[in-house]
Every structure is written in C-alpha cells, then in structure tokens.
Symmetry: C2
Subunit: 215 residues, 2 copies
Amino acid sequence: MNTKRSEVSAAVVRRLPRYYRCLVHLEQQGVVKTSSKELARIMDLTASQIRQDLNCFGGFGQQGYGYSVAALKSEIADILSLTSPRKMIQLGAGNLGKAIAGSVDFSSSGFELLAIFDTNEWIVGSEIKDFPVLSLDVLKDFCHEHHPVAASLCVPIEGAKVLLPLLVELGIRSFLNFSHYDIDYDNVAVENVYIADSVMTLSYKTAALEEEESL
Amino acid sequence: MNTKRSEVSAAVVRRLPRYYRCLVHLEQQGVVKTSSKELARIMDLTASQIRQDLNCFGGFGQQGYGYSVAALKSEIADILSLTSPRKMIQLGAGNLGKAIAGSVDFSSSGFELLAIFDTNEWIVGSEIKDFPVLSLDVLKDFCHEHHPVAASLCVPIEGAKVLLPLLVELGIRSFLNFSHYDIDYDNVAVENVYIADSVMTLSYKTAALEEEESL
C-alpha cells in the first residue's frame, strides 16, 4: 500500500472489515470477479464511494475491468494486517468473556488468543473453546514468557482501571475494550466496543421504518 | 426533525449513538454548553463534519453560540427514538445471551426487554438481571399477550434461521442480530453486530501504530 495507515480517515477504516467480510462471502460462493457496482449493492453504499475508499490505498483493479475477488481480499487482509496474527490475551472469563472467547474467530481477525485470565477460582483451570483459563496471579510470568502484545478486556470498568497500568507495563499495546473504561495512554491502539450503540442504531432504524409506513 | 430518517446517510446514522454518548458524558460532568469544536475534539472528527451531521436533521444551535448540552442531547434522543422504548424479547440465554442481557442497558437505548427465551431446561425458570428466562414453548402465547415488536437474537446461525419466520409471523419487526444469519425480509429493521469487525479494526490500528514507530 502507498498510503500510511494513520492517514486514512476513520470512516474508511471502519468500512474495511465489512469489505473483507463481503469478499470472503463472495469467494465462498465461488464468485471470481466483482465490480464496485456489485460491492455497492451488497454493502448498501454507492459505487463511487467504494472506488474512493479503495483509492485511499493506492487503488486496485482497472476502470471497466472490475476487481479479482481473491486479489482484492488478499490486499484488504494485508491492509488490515490479518496475515501475521499478533499474540493476545483476554482478561475476564465471566459471561462476556465466555461469549467473546467462545464465538469470535480471533485467528482470522488478526490475533492469536493465547489464554484467558480471571480471579474466580471456580473457573481457573478450565478451558473455553481450547483456551486455558489461568489465574490472574500468573499473568506477569505468562507475559514475560509469551510476550503477548494485545489484550481483550472483558472485565467491568473498575477491573479495567486497575489492570490497565499493569498490562501496559507488561508490554501490552493493543486493547479490544469491552469495559467502557476510557483508556487514555499514549502510543497504544484501542478499539472500544459499545454494544449499546448498535441497540440505539436499531431504535433509529425501527423509527425510520415506522415513519415510512405511516406516510 | 425536518428530514425523513430513511434519507439520512448510513454514516451519519452510525455516528448518532456516539454523539449521544458524548453528550451524556458531558452532562454528567456538569458541562452546560458545548461547541462543534469541542465535540470534534472528543469524537476525533472535524468541527465541520459535526456541523454537517447535525444539519442533516435541520440544525441545532446558532453559529457562534454553540450548543446547549441538554437540548442537543434531548434532540438526539428524539432522533434516535429513545424516548418511548419499544417492547423487546431476547432469544438465547447462553453465554452471549447472558452477557448481553446482563450488561446492555436496553431501557436507555430505545427498548424495553421483557423476557428471554431458551430451550435449555436448566436455564428456563431462572432470571438474568431480573429478566425471566422462559421456555421457547411459551413464545407464541407470550407474544400474543405482550406484543413485543423487537428481538435480540443471541442464538447460533442455525437457530436464527429456524426462528426468523416464526418471529416475523408473531409481529416482530426489529432485530438486533448477533447470529450472523443474513436476515432478508422486507419491511423489517435489522442491526447486525459483528464483533470480529472490531477485532479487525484493532488489528489495523495496531499496524498503524507500529508503522508510525518504525519511521
């Protein structure tokens, strides 16, 4: 890619995983070539927006020839940096922690989940989908031995507040943050997940639907 | 509002819950007035984008005078249709279902969660944060009595596929969809939640951080 990642607008970055998902889906269906028009239809965007987005990264395909699904997928995987997964740990093995470790495919999303840490002695020693649940007491040793660089924070806000300085000290630089704690450190990468935002968006869409029908 | 909800671009809609969260936060901190500049700083957008976004809905505040936090918050709550919550049920009381019902504040996000349905007889009869877990066998009767209009789908893709026609027949029109099942019905509102998208976005941000540091 010709562009620095940090210079791409947040809105474009936000759409990249959707492009990637869409291309994986097309590939699974045996589709070999696609166009900005087809991508636009599937993703509910305009064809010109698709072309603009992809141009941010130097452009792919040729005007009028469309895109190779496999090549575009592989380019976007590169841009998203999915190809050499980074080591990740998860903090929290409660309901949210179980749901996340049990259902999210980290390995095809850029990370290799190594272990899950919790303080609950009833859970420590068990496994969640092959991932061992370890005691928080061994977190330091584990990090010194395995050098994870990312953490998924499936803990309440108070837990996150306490854990953050320790995690940063242990070399963790990327945070998938479900805790709602406002992570304010220099030189770390943070992705906050607010499920309530999706609930509000559904509320909006429902109101839009009702509005249409009342006309 | 002067604009039809269905005419607002998806990108603007996507930002509305963030505006709302930001205004709730400012209000909690005792801030009474704000500006597009301050909102831009907090939300990592440009001031002109903030003004453009808010203009989609007819505009608030006056050039040079800023916005009243309380008034803007209340306007955005209206646009998001948070003020008269719609009745919702949840399908699935597994780990994801427990995590969602236990941690998401539906009532301040536009919905009133009534009950959770599951087939697992070990869970049926229990409660998750005051929400009763009922047997799927009573779903029909429950819907005929309480008329929910929305459903949160915390079930696997196969479960969603089987449940969808029944739910639509029972009058459910809005779906908060964690199942990854591609809901393809006319005249329904769907919000798909893909947590893996956030994982990929974190991968991108981590690569961006490494890129900056290697310069």
